[in-house]
């Protein structure tokens, strides 16, 4: 782990301790992240790489967090990205968004805005047309959680 990652991790720990009593841990969880990922990818191996996940490392407001996923791919009919799934660890549901792409898409790149209920790790998984799966993860520290306040 590089120095930046180590510092981010440390800051995350401190914030988690500070915010945990708020009730974030009591949110109902409909499904584990692992089972949602398996529903997306089946039993296929998922390798790290080819996917880039951009989201701010420190999020002030979890209600709207910009997210960009891009995948290294020529996007030709022979070799393209079929689907991209994004998963979270600590929202009430593990799914964030599932994107279906076609060869004429140009770039395998999608941007959206998401909600984060807590400090957590986000994982993006890309299914290529050759049936391989690639993934990337990014951590986000959330100071104001989504989903909780009325």
């Amino acid at each position: 782990m590089d120095r930046r990652g180590a510092l981010a991790g440390l800051a995350g720990t401190v914030l988690v301790i500070a915010l945990r009593p708020a009730a974030a841990a009591t949110l109902p969880r409909t499904e584990t992240t692992e089972s949602a990922i398996r529903r997306f990818a089946g039993d296929n191996p998922i390798r790290p790489g080819r996917v880039t996940l951009d989201l701010p490392p420190l999020v002030e407001n979890g209600n709207t967090v910009p997210l960009t996923v891009s995948v290294e791919s020529a996007m030709t009919p022979e070799d393209h990205v079929r689907r991209i799934g994004v998963f979270n660890e600590r929202n009430p549901q593990p799914n964030v968004v599932t994107v279906h792409l076609r060869p004429g898409a140009g770039r395998a790149q999608v941007s959206t805005r998401i909600r984060l209920a807590d400090t957590q790790r986000i994982t993006a998984i890309a299914e290529m047309s050759d049936g391989t799966y690639w993934s990337a993860s990014a951590d986000a520290i959330v100071t104001l959680a989504a989903c909780l306040e009325g």
Binding site: L27, P28, N63, T64, V65, T68, N88, N91, P92, Q93, N95, V96, V97, T98, V99, H100, L101, R102, G104, A105, G106, R107, Q109, V110, S111, T112, R113, I114, R115, L116, A146, C147, L148, E149, G150
Partner: protein, 106 residues
Amino acid sequence: MARTLINLPKSAKPGDTITIKTLISHPMETGFRPGADGRILPRNIVTHFVCRFEDEEIFRVELFPASAANPYLTFTWIATRSGRFSFTWRGDGGFDQTESAAITVA
């Protein structure tokens, strides 16, 4: 009808990669949040988005409660010929809205 914002170039050269940005105003009520009376508000989200070019699907998304309010999506497309895009959002409670936009490719 919910307000939508759709942004794409009016014209492009064949082979250009264009960026399409869409946004629809929608609360995206998660189904996990308590309302003013303390009871959980029912889920009300957009669950599907489809972009078609001349009836051919080019981009499709499944959305979950983790989408922020007023769901925003940006994606790209290689300009091939002139035509119309249609953008359809579907969701809870029979939410169904379609908008369109044209592009001139020459």
